[in-house]
Amino acid sequence: MAQYSWPKRGTASLIGTEQDRIDGLPKATGMAKYAYDINAPEMLFAKLLGSPHAHCRIKSIDTSAAEKVRGVKAVKTMKEPGNEIRWQGDHIACVAAESEGAAAEGVAAIKVDYELLDVFVNEEDLEAAERAGRAQPLKPDIKTPNEPGDDDDEDEFYNMEFDRLFSEAAVVVEGYYGVPVISHMCLEPHGSTCEWNSDKLLAHLSTQNVSGTASQFGDPLGITADDVTVHCDYIGGGFGSKFAADAWGVIAAQIAKETGRPVKLMLDRDLELKIAGIRPSGFIKVKAGADSEGKVTVWDSRHWGTAGPGAPGNVGHGIIPYVFNPPSIRRQQIPILTDTGPHRAWRAPGHPQACAMSQTAYDDIAAKLGIDSYDVFLRNLPKPSTPEQAHRDEIYRGEMEVAARLMDWKAKWHPHGKGNAKGSIVTGLGMALHTWGGSAHNSTCIIKVHPDGGVETFLGSQDLGPGTRTVIAMVVAETFGLPISAVKVNIGSSRYPASGPSGGSTTVGGVSESNRRGSQDALEQLFALVAKKLQVEPASLEAKKGRIQVQGEPSKGLSWKEACSLLGMKPLEVQGKYERGAEPSPLSSIQVGGVQMAEVAVDRDTGVVKMKKYVAVQDMGLIINRKTAASQIYGAVIMGIAYALFEERIMDPKTGAYVNCETGDYKLARLGDVGEIVVELYEPDSEYKRGVVGLGEPPVISPGAAISNAVANALGVRVPVLPLTPKRVLEALEEGRA
């Protein structure tokens, strides 16, 4: 078996270059087909009835009027009388009809009687949650240099210990910070187009989990996964929310089976926001003490938030304070159960909230001491704690230097609230840093080399947006010494070898692993054939510029086509397989980080915040495609600007209704809102050598804290809760004056 490796730095022809996406034109010209775009003959259109109430019990459901609506072909209930509803929008019934309009009319004609139950949705008010019995405090997690003795009362010991630590601190900051719930808001909503061919189901599902969803259809439909094909060539956004077939996928398949007609069920926008996933909120009360240089010595915090009706999914205490690791920490997590739609993974689960809840406090320490935030962050950089993180503090330091240069930080920085105002406009700088795992997921591919020189690869992966097809094509083409256009990439079907779901920044690592392994193994077999023909040692061969030749001697070799003809009649099929194991892989690794800096301008009279400039420096191990890698960072920063300045789920406190659940009301950043963005891919030799590490999530972590810190630097007042809307900015200024 070959020794798997990446080309030595500087020798690759494709790896690490900037390449256009191979599926760019179909996407740009509307030819790419998403689940929403699949049209089958005689197709029906299905819509869900979602509960109008957040917490209620169903007394009765009457579908008779809906069945009579012209064009309605099927009405199916998905809940029964007696069932309790725990969030607004939860699916109650499904209507399939000849048109979208008729389906909506059918849904409106379903009559449901509800018994209303008490509603609690106020995630920010901890005391209200405690009163309502909705708070579930976990045991505080405590770390101090001194441990209680056997005879000590633990609580008393720690209370005294923390009092002592705070009394010894040169500066103590008490802060409140928060990040409300946001929705995934995938532009292509969740859903599928399902069609049956006798007893076999073809589900065109909008999914980030092509290889893992077939059995989710099989079970409830009374068939097995071998009779299910899940297909998804393109997916219009997922961000962590599209791993499952979901009840609405299954009901579409069921109705398709019963009516004998294909069924398209894509969630309406309001239901997409209400039921298809949210990012949990996080609110924190912090007391932090530091020495006179801003090095934090003691951290004491309680944080709470909601992930919906259940506790799991909330921001864990393990990443509080975020990245930093002061010697003494007491931290408590308090999940709050609310009558709101359940959480789903959202790009770097927990990290953006943790970062915005804690690196803001570090910045407030700089503000209180009147020293440069940059220096405070530098002094608090964590010491390496794991082998994968061996150089982490060095990397952060290097990234901070690069970021500061790109931002011109030293020249622009001013003490908090002390900048030169131009009328009502003040400007400020803020920074934050982040970390993420990003290990490769398990992935299997089949590399097929045809005797006529054709090359293709098959794997049940998907392109969530990072340019998966292009990355795969680059890896295979690099290995074979071919141009990218010579490689046909087949992904998006559960019929292909299984590859991991696209979550946790694992895809580029995973598909690079399997395809590099498979194509290196395939090449070895081709080398053997060519070596025999040329009467040379296989080890002396290389694949380069469309030829297989003796290294450095193009005249001694065969063209790719000639070499493949040695295969005879049968194509060469090689499995490329990567499974995470105990041993580190030579092709991929884990742990990345990044440093980001924001420059904002704030109108003190209106509270409007504008992005002036944003710098993102990011490491990611070895870079496959510099172009799409940079796009991931641009995108993450813009998504970060959205949750820092614009987006939040707004709930009616009494009814539990999600009031801003339409596109026009759920505010996101627009093209004119993003300012200048500078992206720097940080790839020193130490990182290149580590192989591929995932990138999708990490750069979305820092913007909340960085932008909040920049606004605090501009105003001299902390706006505690994101997004930094004019309302919150003005209210913070008002309070700062009082």
């Binding site: 309009g101 009279d605 409007v608 026009g664 627009r670 004119g672 209210e731």
Partner: protein
């Protein structure tokens, strides 16, 4: 969307014939940006939709000695590009604030004035006056009214052009219900705060039609609009203001100050105008106008910040109308 009958008449009189006197049974389609979405959500469920864009007399912009006449189905981008309206900068600025080329191209001036409120309770089917106003008062009201909100109506009027048009003293021509019925009324009289669910935010009967917007000659008026917007794009402003001023010898002789997105109707402020009369326009008098405009504000539980914003919007609109620096972005 409920199934409906459809007609696209060619003449004003035919439009009237196709409209029903019964509220909610017929709807008028102009640009469609608001109506289609509301029909899809089954918030509005007419039996018949009457498309008025084929009525030739309802389109276009004409200027003569009496001023400028704008047909109700004239699109916002056509208004923006019309040199005939260069003297009404408040109007053009308000259109530019609707920061979406698509909505500027699709939206019509008549539709813009008649669009339904953005109140999220209304748009989720709770009705315009949502439980006699309680739902708003006790609920999420960060974007709701801070003036004129003591009755059941607590939404803010959605129109973004109304403040500018009111500032320059526009009138509207209304026809129907009968084929010979024709009224020209000041735009200020067109809007009203509904008292019950069957009323709309304007005085039109269901079988009447707004046909034209009439602008008097500028005659020395300088005008400007200012919106406080959270971000770019077509999103509605947090508050808006328009001002039109006439000055003699550096002193204000006439002032019209109108706020948008603060009340169930576009809000003309006589107090703000009074604060400017007989004085020069400067930072201090503009600020005083802003203060005066909000003296009687009655903010709800979550929208007190809008009082401050509205003051600033008035101040900046006044300064802008006088050709002075406004501050801000």
């Amino acid at each position: 969307m409920k199934a409906f009958e459809y007609a696209a008449p060619l003449y004003e009189a035919d439009v009237l014939e196709l409209l029903s006197a019964e509220p909610g049974t017929t709807e008028i389609l102009a640009g469609g940006t608001d109506l289609i979405g509301l029909m899809k959500k089954m918030i509005i469920t007419p039996d018949r939709v009457v498309n008025i864009k084929e009525v030739a007399s309802l389109g276009g912009i004409e200027r003569d000695s009496l001023g400028v006449t704008i047909g109700a189905v004239t699109t916002l981008d056509d208004i923006l590009e019309s040199p005939d309206l260069d003297d009404y900068p408040a109007l053009k600025q308000a259109i530019r604030c609707i920061n979406s080329p698509q909505i500027q191209a699709q939206g019509t001036i008549g539709g813009e004035l008649c669009q339904r409120p953005r109140c999220w309770y209304f748009r989720q089917g709770d009705g315009l006056l949502a439980q006699a106003g309680r739902l708003v008062a006790e609920g999420e009201n960060r974007y709701h009214a801070i003036l004129g909100n003591l009755g059941p109506a607590k939404f803010v009027h959605a129109s973004r052009l109304a403040p500018a048009l009111l500032a320059v003293e526009a009138s509207v021509r209304i026809i129907g219900p009968g084929p010979e019925d024709e009224t020209i009324m000041p735009l200020a009289d067109f809007f009203r705060t509904p008292r019950h669910e069957r009323q709309r935010e304007h005085v039109l009967e269901p079988n009447q039609l707004l046909t034209h917007i009439l602008l008097p000659p500028v005659d020395g008026f300088t005008s400007a609009s200012y919106e406080v917007r959270h971000g770019e794009g077509p999103d509605y402003p947090l508050v808006a203001a328009a001002a039109a001023l006439r000055t003699t010898g550096g002193l204000v002789t006439q002032a019209n100050v109108v706020m948008g997105h603060v009340a169930p109707v576009p809000w003309l402020s006589a107090s703000a105008a009074e604060a400017l009369l007989g004085r020069p326009v400067n930072e201090a008098t503009a600020r005083a106008a802003g203060e005066a405009a909000l003296v009687s504000a009655t903010p709800l539980s979550g929208n007190g910040y809008k009082v401050k914003l509205a003051r600033v919007a008035v101040q900046r609109a006044v300064l802008l109308a006088a050709g002075l620096e406004t501050g801000g972005f």
